[in-house]
């Protein structure tokens, strides 16, 4: 899922600016699960902002949609958006832009910082596991992605910064992905995969190749 985190309130307050009435919109999908922007957080943010601006008598309404990235789910907000001077989206960056696209006449602001695609390692801790590079190599790396999980995205084994299974970039928090890959492949008796020289990656399918699209002719109506 997409993992995000609420922006500092001060930054959000700056975005509010002179607006007297705003709508906070949560999203019921990924950001609910990662506890950044679901119904609960939308309510908390709206209440917090009313407290923060209590002397100016500003009003913050809130609502939450099923998935903020879908036009159909966002559309029903039209009246509420129209009645507000602006929208604070608690969706990921995709949700923010969907709101902005559906309501081009309204000012839409992001209340979250969208971080990465990842998984909850434990309750309250999320870690990046996929970089969305567009050409998956997990079959060669024991199901552990070095592009997302090696600090240098190396493709041919660990650099000299791997010590005791940790990455020198932040030994306390980052595991060396290549140590994990090594251990997994060793257990599978498939270490010869790590003897192969992996050729330079074609990054054109990743964020480096220009704006990306996925197109399925058969499902186009």
């Amino acid at each position: 899922m997409i993992v995000a985190e609420r922006k500092p309130i001060a930054e959000i307050m700056e975005m509010v600016g002179p607006r007297k009435k705003m709508l906070v919109v949560g999203c019921g999908a990924c950001v609910t699960v990662c506890m950044a922007g679901g119904e609960r957080e939308a309510e908390i943010l709206a209440t917090t902002l009313e407290l923060a601006f209590r002397n100016e008598g500003k009003q913050f309404l809130w609502d939450c949609v099923e998935r903020q990235c879908e036009t159909e789910f966002v559309e029903p907000l039209r009246d509420k958006v129209r009645a507000s001077a602006g929208v604070l989206s608690m969706g990921c960056g995709v949700g923010v832009q969907t709101l902005a696209a559906v309501f081009p006449e309204s000012a839409v602001f992001p209340a979250l910082n969208t971080h990465f695609m990842g998984r909850p390692v434990e309750q309250g801790l999320w870690a990046e596991t996929c970089a969305g590079c567009g050409t998956c190599i997990l079959s060669k790396t024991g199901g552990i992605c070095p592009i997302a999980r090696c600090s240098k995205s190396l493709l041919n084994g660990p650099c000299g910064g791997s010590v005791n299974g940790r990455c020198e970039v932040d030994p306390e928090h980052i595991e060396c992905a290549w140590q994990l890959i090594y251990d997994r492949l060793e257990a599978w008796d498939a270490l010869d995969l790590m003897d192969e020289i992996m050729p330079p990656k074609d990054w054109s399918t990743s964020a480096h190749g220009g704006v990306r699209r996925v197109f399925r002719e058969d499902v186009v109506l």
Partner: protein, 442 residues
């Protein structure tokens, strides 16, 4: 009709029937006693033991660790009773693979040599015991610094050797024991050291020194042992905070201890050096390695050192964070056989009281999930302190959603507070949500 009410009714039928069959995990003395007590109360039991027989489990009990008595005879009598009892089904070489469900209806899958089977139980009693970690201080002469268990083995071999006329190994001339206070198991360690000291003196006629912090709890058996040891010539040194230092020379070990017992003039605190050729130190009692796995399967909590049952005043001895799951004996850190016997009886009664009636009233004010709002984030499942939440097909929608199992819910409202989708409400009961109360404040 209100969807929430419907869900509440469907997921919490008013009458919940309970299975009376009880699963007992572990075939040591705790497990055997629990099963026998339950059977005598009329509960059918299944006792599951991963080992090939129950004897291996009992070995720790025969050793001198367990207070001052000799339990070998007692154990074999109880074991015989266990196998005789038609209400008790003993499964050897069997492990628990998965546990689903809740009190009254735990669905447990077990594995016996690759063959799995499933059965339902009303309650589960864990009696998987403890283990001794004989890891000793790093030394280049490991055979000269040994654990209590190793000492017992050596004495046993020596005696067998004597009987069969074979020459034994070299007999140590001076033997030193060190026993430091270490919490709950101090009494047992002391008993072990005292019994070991007496045995060494009796069979090897060695000079025996015991450096201790405190000679155990004031128990009658312990006093007796201590008296016996003193009168047979065992020399005691008592130390305070400063632990004895051990230095290892080429041929002898030297223990340096600051003796804090008052001398004749009432002031003397001497630094004493004991040269010995065998040093005996106690093992550590640790949870069995499978305890952590069992914890995950059963979704129960442990204390900081990994023993089952956390330290909480609301939990009666043997009770867990989950209704219907109990702990007996070594797995929760009880080491003394006499204590374990009492525990087994008490837990059997608790279990019996829980499952004796065909139906139990549902708790009042339990939480309910609005399946339509549930984002399946699993937060409630992870944060419920009583493991009362499941993710299952919702009876209302047919789709998957979190489900608070009424009979296991303790109505604390923690899941309500954690849910990021605002999808859980406290049921209509005596508890009103804090937010409702607040309305009055405005």
């Amino acid at each position: 009709m209100d969807v929430r009410k419907t869900v509440a009714l469907l997921s919490n039928p008013e009458h919940v029937s309970l299975s009376k069959r009880v699963l007992v995990l572990g075939g040591g003395i705790g497990g055997i006693e629990t099963a026998l007590n339950l059977a005598s109360l009329g509960c059918a039991c299944t006792l599951v033991e991963p080992g090939e027989s129950l004897e291996a489990r009992a070995e720790a009990m025969f050793s001198s660790h367990n207070a001052a008595k000799d339990y070998a005879g007692f154990f074999s009598t109880r074991k015989a009773a266990l196998f005789r009892d038609f209400r008790i089904n003993v499964l050897l070489k069997t492990r628990v693979v998965s546990v689903a469900g809740h009190i009254g209806d735990f669905r447990v899958r077990t594995d016996c040599a690759g063959k799995t089977s499933a059965q339902g139980f009303g309650a589960i009693v864990v009696a998987t015991g403890f283990e001794l970690d004989a890891a000793l201080p790093d030394t280049e002469m490991p055979h000269r610094v040994i654990s209590h268990l190793e000492l017992e083995k050596r004495i046993r071999n020596f005696r067998q050797g004597m009987r069969s006329g074979r020459a034994g190994s070299v007999i140590p001339k001076d033997v030193c024991f060190i026993v430091a206070d270490s919490g709950d198991d101090s009494a047992i360690r002391s008993a072990s050291a005292l019994k070991g000291a007496l045995a060494v003196q009796k069979f090897w006629q060695s000079n025996v020194f015991v450096c201790c912090q405190n000679v155990g709890a004031p128990r009658e058996e312990m006093e007796k042992l201590y008296g016996e040891a003193r009168s047979s010539g065992v020399v005691f040194f008592k130390f305070d905070e400063e632990r004895p230092a051990i230095s290892i020379g080429d041929t002898v070990l030297e223990v340096t201890v600051r003796d804090s017992s008052a001398g004749p003039d009432g002031e003397w605190k001497g630094l004493i050096k004991i040269a010995c050729d065998l040093l005996v130190v106690p093992e550590r009692f640790v949870p069995r390695p499978d305890t952590a796995c069992l914890r995950r399967l059963l979704r129960v909590n442990a204390d900081a050192s990994g023993f089952l049952q956390e330290n909480n005043v609301w939990l009666k001895p043997g009770a867990s964070n989950r209704k219907g799951i109990f702990f007996v004996g070594g797995c929760r850190g009880s080491l003394d056989v006499d204590d374990i016997l009492v525990e087994a009886r008490a837990v059997a009664l608790e279990v019996y009281n829980l499952v004796r009636s065909d139906e139990v009233p549902l708790p009042i004010g339990i939480a309910t999930v609005d399946a339509a709002k549930c984002a399946l984030c699993l937060t409630c499942l992870r944060s419920c302190p009583h493991a009362a939440v499941e993710v299952d097909h919702n009876p209302e929608t047919g789709g998957k959603a979190a489900l608070v199992v009424g009979i296991a819910c303790e109505a604390c409202g923690i899941c309500v507070a954690e849910c990021p989708a605002n999808a859980i409400q406290m049921g209509e009961g005596e508890h009103q949500q804090a937010a409702t109360e607040l309305v009055r404040l405005r």
